[in-house]
């Protein structure tokens, strides 16, 4: 026994932490340190926000009532909008918050084509040719771009995730925000192609002109990729221009480097992180640390009454007998989902956990936590821990969850 104990002691691995990581951890931990003044200010602020929200709601209702009374009924309620050309159809994707007009003969890719792209992520791909995924450069849908030659068209829109933590966008460019992107032009200029850019070297000898146009709209930042075969007729060029000008984006900010969500309400914050084998995305109505962790189960403490937190973890996993029954998107919760088994890490929050499997190898877990009731009490079941405004919180969580898009290759958009 003594020999074995000695062997164990000698086998102790020697490791030192990464200094930079340790400093990041110190910063995150110090940010969690509350002061008495902060706690007091937080209470006052929450009450003020509630009062302002109630006053604003009353004001909005009053203005609407006045407008409804003031506007003569024989006038149009909204300005005329450009009408859809004959034979075209409209493609709407509420999850990604993008609408576009689709000409006859064009198709919209049902899945993402640039599967290796995490951030920016592809939210739309469409074109006249075969919409094939992949290609020699995983970050671009190079097969589809090549498919535009010699006389076709391909359009793809990628969106930058605005809130990402370690390992992603912020780590590369901490100060980059949507304001660093040029505003969306009134009309996209497709006269001067950018096919000479080295990033499109992967297109090989295919005779295509390529445009790569960064732009912002509201709080969202995008890249528009357009590829036109060098023999594309003028009518197709004109149609392509009309397609890209028809792009319409819903409000909000997009967060996530693997799976992603769109946050329409500025109260929400988001952060994401990638690991070797998983991607983590977290959004909440409270500020999140710049560096989130993988431990989704243990991060409910930061929530106060009326707060919400949604955590998503997506990883590659082969089917396993221990897998819980799989669900499907969109995730929509009811009070029943919060009646699950009690978790040892839960203190006063109510938690719902959903599990999804996409195709043979991709798994996603979604955790939704509701802030505690004002008086937690001695609850004996999860149901009793639900706060009074649980129905409203669940509805708000469902709104955000309806925008959840997984990163998995087999995932639908």
């Amino acid at each position: 026994v003594r020999d074995l104990e000695t062997t164990i002691r000698r086998s102790r691995p020697d490791a030192t932490p990464n200094r930079r990581r340790l400093e990041e951890i110190r910063t995150a931990a110090l940010d969690a340190l509350p002061s008495a003044a902060t706690i007091a200010r937080g209470r006052v602020r929450r009450r003020l926000i509630l009062a302002v929200e109630v006053a604003a709601a009353i004001a909005v209702v009053a203005v609407l009532v006045v407008l409804v009374i003031a506007v003569p009924s024989d006038e149009p309620a909204s300005p005329p909008t450009p009408s859809l050309p004959s034979g075209w159809r409209e493609h709407r994707d509420p999850a990604s918050g993008v609408d576009v007009w689709v000409p006859p003969g064009w198709g919209v890719a049902p899945t993402r084509l640039a599967s290796a792209l995490a951030d920016p992520h592809e939210i739309l791909s469409m074109g006249t040719g075969p919409l094939a995924a992949g290609g020699p450069c995983g970050n671009e849908a190079t097969r589809a771009i090549r498919g535009a030659a010699p006389a076709g068209a391909f359009v793809s829109v990628q969106e930058r995730s605005i809130a990402s933590s370690a390992g992603g966008f912020r780590e590369v460019s901490p100060a980059l925000t949507p304001r660093d992107y040029p505003s969306r032009p009134r009309h996209f200029d497709l006269r001067k192609a950018a096919s000479a850019q080295p990033m499109f070297g992967c297109v090989g000898s295919a005779k295509v002109d390529v445009w790569w146009i960064p732009f912002r709209e509201g709080e969202r930042a995008f890249y528009l990729l357009v590829a036109l075969g060098d023999k594309a007729p003028a009518t197709l060029r004109a149609a392509t221009k009309r397609v890209v000008d028809s792009l319409a984006f819903a409000d909000g900010r997009t967060v996530g480097m693997g799976p992603w969500m769109r946050l329409a309400d500025p109260r929400w914050s988001g952060a994401s992180r990638t690991y070797r084998d998983r991607s983590v995305l977290q959004v909440a109505t409270v500020p999140l640390p710049a560096r989130i962790t993988n431990d989704l189960d243990g991060q409910q403490d930061r929530l106060g009454p009326g707060d919400l937190q949604i955590s998503v973890i997506e990883f590659i996993s082969r089917p396993h007998p221990a897998d819980p029954p799989a669900g499907r998107l969109p995730v929509q919760l009811t009070r029943e989902d919060f009646k699950g088994p009690r978790y040892e890490f839960q203190s006063t929050t109510a938690l719902a956990v959903r599990y999804f499997r996409y195709g043979p190898d991709t798994v996603m877990r979604v955790h939704v936590a509701l802030g505690p009731a004002d008086t937690p009490g001695q609850a004996v079941s999860s149901e009793q821990r639900l706060p009074e405004d649980a129905d409203r919180l669940i509805e708000e969580a469902n709104d955000v969850l309806s925008t959840l898009v997984p990163a998995g290759r087999a995932a639908r958009r």
Binding site: P13, R26, A29, L33, D301, I316, S317, P319
Partner: protein
């Protein structure tokens, strides 16, 4: 603040002093990371557990009443977080890396694990934690009991069972 004891630093931090809290981290941060790493064997997860433990510690500092030393308390939080991690890992299906280039596998314990380390990693979470605290961190059985908040006899029985498991796995005859 190098000459100030943990007790005073905790009191100042409880009053909202970031400087005192930072000093506590300077004093114990690296040790807690090392403990997390020894428990879970992965640098990224050790980062997460350490961060989560310190966030919890600072957020809940007002609840720290000084019945144990701060070092014992923060170790306990790390062990609890690591314990939850280990239990979750055991339930989690086998996974395939999303992108092998996101971390250097050489840095991870698993990549350089010898037979003994592998056998320790295969122990149940409770036994693994006892072995790590006692044999790798060097805590006495009483200190282990204090960190784990269990009787010393429980620590001893976990260690004894762990040794049986290790003997069996490593083919060591008693």
């Amino acid at each position: 603040m190098s000459g100030v004891g943990d007790e005073k630093l905790v009191r100042r931090a409880q009053a909202g002093s970031r400087e005192a809290a930072s000093a506590l981290f300077t004093r114990h941060g690296e040790d807690t990371w090392r403990l997390a790493f020894l428990l879970v064997g992965d640098r990224a997860d050790a980062d997460d557990i350490t961060q989560d433990a310190w966030e919890r510690a600072f957020r809940g500092l007002s609840r720290f009443e000084g019945r144990s030393a701060f070092r014992t308390w923060i170790r306990r939080i790390v062990v609890n977080r690591a314990s939850e991690y280990l239990r979750r890992e055991r339930r989690r299906p086998d996974r395939v890396p999303l992108a092998s280039d996101l971390a250097d596998p050489q840095e991870d314990l698993a990549a350089s694990a010898g037979e003994v380390i592998a056998a320790i990693r295969a122990l149940s979470p409770d036994r693994r934690i006892a072995v790590v605290l006692h044999h790798w961190v060097g805590l006495t059985v009483a200190d282990c009991a204090s960190v784990l908040e269990v009787p010393a006899g429980t620590v001893q029985s976990r260690l004894a069972r762990a040794m049986n498991d290790l003997r069996s796995t490593l083919g060591v005859t008693p």
